[in-house]
């Protein structure tokens, strides 16, 4: 039983990480029907920004708490700026082009960002500073749930809650839902669709940046390529949960994380990915639009 609980929490941590990144995929897809393959790289940019700011601040001897807050703020702002710019440069000109064009453009942006960081920073693995210190009261359960695990779980829950509140109750949230339902109609009733789409990219990128910081402090290292694998897994989670659905992305993340964790624990980590993708295929056979996806007209 204890082993089960240990694996369960491993799966939860992993799932939260996937969920945080999956939220960005699913939001963008929900609004403009685009799979933003550069999203994983925005997450990587967030981690790098936090790394640079945190390293610089710790040289000047700032206290840890202010380093965490400033690094997180910088990462969120910087990543959002990237998300905003990418949308304006690479997707907006293609908004009325065939569906495949922005998709290719997204893959191109992903490759561009990876190589940009590779050239501008380094190809080496870098040690990410420990931004989340071990809390005293977690020590008795540290072998099951560490402090970083806890922070990741809580942050994901808060991010999902905050996002749901924004979408349900704010003006921009209403505009987002309207745009998602019917872009032309939304435009006709006076919604600034371009602004809504920009806002979606900004929120999605901010979440990716938070994810980047949390995961980098959890795993302790970054390089230019981390966005790719995390992005693919998060994308899988988003599809699993039903792409376009926000609770779906979180659910998909957890289902994927737990499946991988239990597959590792009870079978073998050699087959971790086999189980994850077998599950994806099975679910898509029975529910083609994912666990919580709307089964309306297929977009891609």
């Amino acid at each position: 039983m204890e082993y089960f609980i240990e694996l369960f929490f491993s799966g939860l941590t992993r799932g939260s990480i996937y969920a945080l990144i999956a939220l960005g995929y699913t939001m963008v897809y929900g609004i403009i029907g685009l799979i933003n393959f550069a999203h994983g790289d925005i997450y990587m940019i967030g981690a790098f920004t936090a790394f640079i700011i945190a390293t610089a601040l710790s040289i000047f001897g700032f206290p840890l708490l202010s380093i965490v807050i400033l690094a997180a703020l910088a990462a969120v702002i910087w990543s959002s700026a990237y998300g905003y710019t990418i949308e304006k440069l690479a997707y907006k000109p293609l908004r009325h082009a065939p569906r495949l064009s922005p998709l290719i453009s997204a893959i191109g942006m992903s490759i561009f960002l990876q190589n940009y960081v590779l050239l501008a920073q380094t190809s080496d693995f870098l040690a990410f500073p420990e931004l989340i210190p071990d809390l005293e009261f977690m020590e008795p359960v540290a072998h099951v749930v560490g402090t970083t695990d806890l922070v990741i779980l809580v942050t994901t829950a808060m991010a999902m809650l905050g996002l749901t509140l924004i979408i349900k109750f704010t003006r921009i949230g209403k505009a987002m839902r309207a745009t998602a339902q019917d872009r032309t109609m939304a435009m006709l009733v006076g919604i600034n669709v371009d602004r809504v789409i920009s806002m979606t990219f900004i929120i999605g990128s901010a979440l990716a940046a938070i994810g980047g910081i949390l995961i980098a402090s959890h795993i302790g290292q970054i390089n230019f390529y981390i966005g790719f694998i995390a992005g693919i897994k998060a994308f899988t989670a988003a599809v699993l949960g039903g792409i376009g659905s926000i609770p779906g992305a979180v659910l998909g993340g957890f289902v994927l994380g737990l499946t991988e964790s239990f597959a590792t624990g009870y079978v073998s980590s050699d087959y971790e990915d086999v189980f994850a993708f077998a599950l994806l295929v099975t679910i898509l056979i029975f529910k083609p639009s994912g666990l919580l996806g709307r089964s309306d007209i297929q977009k891609v």
Partner: protein, 373 residues
């Protein structure tokens, strides 16, 4: 008719030349050098030729071996097994006494039976395939490089005999290098009967979290982890083990004996063991061999240069000690007499592997890899 005539004239003159050649150098010692000297793998073979040239030049200047000058017979096998057999036949028909080569394991394996039938000792600076020595099929084969499994052997012996562990988890990163090493480690632990493999798993490179594997290691009751792979995964696994408050020993390989590992894993790297090639930088012979190479060719030596230099020295020393170029006498001398070489003071075991060449264990202490004595 005309062409056929010309053909036979050429054949006759080649025969004459070979005959004359044989006669002219009857009292030299013929050291064959075989390996890829052209084609895309030439960079693996050329340094061996240069090493042989440097050694022979030095030995000839000092009066040769037992009063005889050493002559080099250099043959190209382009690293291809089907050409290596021709290379071997050519060297034997030229009356070679011992052969330095071949370079690639595949080519070496193809050529060895031919040398064996002719009773010629072959010493490779680079063929690392374990079966070449361990199968016992090629008693004429020696090498001055550790075989592919030597690293796993070193790690397992260290874990079992030095650290005394009974339960070991073997992990790898699913790559060719890491998995190959882990396979050998598992096999050696099982064969030793002194310890058991309680877990054998591959971790997915690039995953965002390894805590499930870490929990599995804990449940397996392992006292140590032997990890085959490179430093990015190793540092993640070690850090997550320490985060989950697991203090068991972590032993890894040359892919982890890298300063990036210490930089990235930070304080979690402390106490980690890793095997790595022996350090020759304090060996004066190694330094002088490299200096000679720079003086002669105006560049740093290439791949396997030191191993080739050592092999040439060992072969010629064995002939000197045996005072003969006869097969059994050379074999005996190689096993019984040590030679000072750039890779250490070496002799060979009965299977043909160099004793004292190979890997050493290092441990991270205060942020640095220190050799474990």
């Amino acid at each position: 008719m005309k062409t056929r005539m010309r053909g036979s004239i050429v054949a006759v003159s080649i025969g004459l030349m070979l005959g004359l050649g044989g006669a002219a150098y009857a009292d030299t010692i013929k050291l064959g050098v075989a390996g890829p000297h052209s084609g895309d793998l030439a960079s693996y073979g050329i340094p061996t030729v240069k090493a042989a040239e440097l050694v022979v030049k030095k030995i000839n200047a000092n009066g040769g071996v037992n009063g005889k000058q050493v002559e080099l017979l250099i043959e190209d096998d382009v690293c291809k097994p089907e050409i290596a057999t021709n290379t071997a036949t050519k060297l034997i028909s030229d009356g070679v006494d011992v052969v330095l080569g071949h370079i690639c394991s595949g080519a070496t394996k193809a050529a060895l039976p031919i040398y064996k039938n002719a009773g010629i000792v072959v010493m490779s600076p680079s063929a690392t395939n374990p079966a070449l020595t361990q199968s016992g099929d090629y008693p004429n084969f020696y090498r001055t490089i550790a075989s592919d499994d030597a690293q796993a052997r070193k790690e397992v012996d260290f874990a079992i005999d030095v650290l005394g562990f009974k339960k070991i988890a073997v992990l790898h990163d699913k790559g060719d290098y890491g998995k190959g090493l882990a396979e050998f480690a598992r096999q050696f632990i099982e064969e030793s009967k002194k310890a058991e493999v309680v877990l054998y798993e591959g971790v997915t490179p690039g995953a965002v979290d390894y805590s499930a594997v870490v929990q599995k290691i804990r449940r397996s009751g392992a006292e140590a982890v032997i990890f085959g792979g490179y430093h990015p995964e190793a540092s993640k696994v070690v850090s997550q083990m320490r985060k989950k408050r697991m203090k068991i020993t972590f032993i890894s390989d040359d892919g982890v004996k890298d300063d990036t590992f210490i930089k990235v894993a930070g304080k979690d790297a402390e106490g980690v063991y890793a095997s790595g090639p022996q350090d020759n930088s304090k060996n004066p012979l190694s330094n002088s061999a490299i200096a000679d190479h720079k003086a002669a060719y105006n560049e740093d030596p290439g791949a396997f240069f030191e191993n080739a230099y050592a092999a040439a020295l060992a072969l010629l020393n064995a002939i000197e000690q045996a005072d003969s170029t006869e097969y059994e006498a050379i074999r005996k001398a190689l096993q019984e007499h040590k030679t000072m070489t750039p890779v250490g003071n070496i002799n060979f075991d009965s299977k043909g592997d160099a004793v004292g060449v190979g890997f050493a264990m290092y441990q991270v202490k205060n942020g640095q890899y220190v050799e474990v004595k």
